[in-house]
């Protein structure tokens, strides 16, 4: 792909996304027919909130290394949105949630989320920065003993160091929900966290916990894109085939379609 092609595609992508994000709000107005599938662990969050309220232990919300201003700005924003809803619901508690991060530029985001959602006074010392990665993981593993959070919700950008945090939380019997926009963190979360979202689900997490239209619109736009991409890729693949195998292309296409459908049917047998 040369530069120009990429640029043209990018412009198209952005334009369509803008349209989707804006129009999805109107479509969302007539809701009821569609709904969002449930994400892992979301139904546990109210439970944890209650535990937090009842025991006076804070929730621990972690951004990880998701930094504003850099590549994972969207991840940080999505996490902040997600946390905003959590904090809002934790409002009946006495302990403001503990928000931690290792990217200093995310600090204002965390402070903002706390201040907007937690309307009970000064929360400045509840958003805490620690130097990146292992220092952060170490500090969290130590704070697991210090602050004794009721539960950990880790959404953002984590690497393998997530293992240290989840391990120490696990030792103390503190439940955890983790999602990372990094693959190694995602894998660690899948194995060690009580509940793990996978990759992209980070961006749908806010809409899974709130009634906000905006979040829903995002999820809807993502789904539209997903459909477009899958269809487009299928068409492109067929074109590729037809280039190489002019004679066999349609047979192959049929074969591939048959395989796909068979796969779908086989797997749908389960449960």
């Amino acid at each position: 792909m040369d530069d120009t092609t990429v640029q043209v595609y990018s412009v198209l992508f952005i334009a369509i996304t803008v349209v989707l994000v804006v129009t999805a709000r109107y479509f969302q107005a007539r809701r009821g027919r569609r709904m969002q599938r449930q994400l892992a662990g979301m139904d546990q969050i109210p439970q944890w909130l209650m535990q937090s309220i009842e025991t006076g232990k804070p929730l621990h919300l972690a951004f990880g290394g998701a930094g504003v201003g850099g590549d994972n700005t969207p991840a940080a924003l999505a996490a902040a949105e997600f946390f905003h809803h959590v904090i809002q619901n934790a409002d009946a508690s006495d302990m403001p949630p503990l928000v931690t991060m290792s990217a200093p530029a995310t600090l204002p985001l965390g402070q903002g989320a706390l201040r907007r959602a937690w309307r009970k006074g000064n929360t400045l010392s509840r958003a805490q920065w620690t130097p990146p990665d292992l220092a952060y993981a170490g500090a969290v593993s130590a704070s697991v003993a210090d602050d004794e959070p009721a539960a950990h919700i880790m959404a953002g950008s984590f690497g393998a160091e997530l293992a240290l945090m989840l391990d120490s939380a696990d030792r103390r019997g503190q439940p955890s929900l983790a999602v990372s926009d990094r693959l190694d963190g995602g894998a660690v979360a899948y194995a060690l966290a009580d509940h793990a979202l996978i990759g992209e689900e980070l961006f749908a997490a806010p809409s899974a916990i709130s009634t906000d239209e905006g979040g829903r619109a995002d999820a809807a736009a993502l789904d539209v894109w997903r459909g477009l991409i899958i269809l487009g890729a299928a068409v492109l693949l067929l074109l590729e085939f037809s280039k190489q195998l002019p004679l066999l292309s349609w047979q192959l296409a049929l074969g591939a379609a048959a395989v796909l459908i068979a796969l779908g049917l086989i797997f749908s047998r389960r449960r």
Partner: protein, 248 residues
């Protein structure tokens, strides 16, 4: 063009051995003790031993913060200060004088971000923060599109040449294609509402999602194993260090 042979720059890099040796021994001793302190994590919350780990961690956090600060100052702010004084160069097409404005605007922005918690300034600090966020978002969008989305998709749909000859490669390419598409489909969020009880999907859609999940979980498993191997490599280095120290 030779790397500048600045007069005397860096010429006294050669370490003085005698003093260096003392220092090396001390370094080794300190690192030995600290390594053991961190390893005490394994024992958990035994009295006294639990303290060792946390002391080491807090030393580490404080030091890492300090280093981050020092390196940011020395490695970034100083060079920038150096650079804006150099009238022959400029960061943008606007010339050197613009550099100075940019630099001091950035300083001002940094200061305002520091004041973000001050409520009465929120209108200003939020606007400054918005600039940081949107520039980051713009970089992220451009990066995600041109660096990940398009190239990966492009590569997924482009099948290797000479497929007829190599059936294995064709099969692999097809599996990858099917895997990517079903796994991408797996994430689908919106489901049809099928009544009061809950949402549902067609059997086909559910099948696709299960197939996709096979690929996702396989990938996660492999990445987990790789992460394990990396940490094992690092552990072997640490243990090698402990033994070397024990010998010496």
């Amino acid at each position: 063009m030779p790397l500048a042979r600045c007069a005397g720059a860096g010429a006294k890099q050669i370490s003085s051995d005698a003093a260096g040796m003392m220092a090396e021994h001390t370094i080794a001793l300190v690192s030995f003790i600290l390594t053991l302190m961190v390893f005490s994590y394994v024992l958990g919350d035994l009295p006294l031993i639990g303290v060792l780990y946390r002391v080491a961690v807090y030393i580490f956090v404080g030091m890492a913060a300090a280093f981050t600060l020092v390196v940011s100052y020395e490695g970034l702010i100083l060079p920038y200060l150096q650079d804006i004084q150099n009238t022959e160069t400029s960061w943008t097409a606007l010339g050197n004088s613009a550099d100075i404005y940019i630099f001091f605007t950035a300083l001002l922005f940094g200061l305002l971000l520091l004041l973000k918690p001050v409520r009465s300034l929120a209108w200003l600090t939020n606007s400054v923060y918005a600039v940081v966020i949107v520039v980051g978002a713009a970089v992220a969008v451009v990066g995600a599109l041109s660096g990940t989305l398009f190239p990966l998709l492009h590569h997924t749909v482009s099948i290797p040449a000479n497929l007829v000859a190599d059936f294995g490669a064709l099969l692999d390419a097809l599996i990858i294609f099917v895997g990517v598409m079903t796994a991408l489909f797996y994430f689908h969020y919106q489901v049809r509402a099928t009544g009061a009880a809950g949402g549902g999907q067609s059997r086909l859609a559910r099948g696709f999602r299960h197939a996709g999940k096979v690929f996702i979980v396989t990938a996660l498993g492999a990445i987990y194993a790789s992460t394990l191997l990396t940490s094992l490599t690092i552990l072997s280095e640490r243990i090698s260090f402990l033994f070397q120290f024990g010998v010496a």
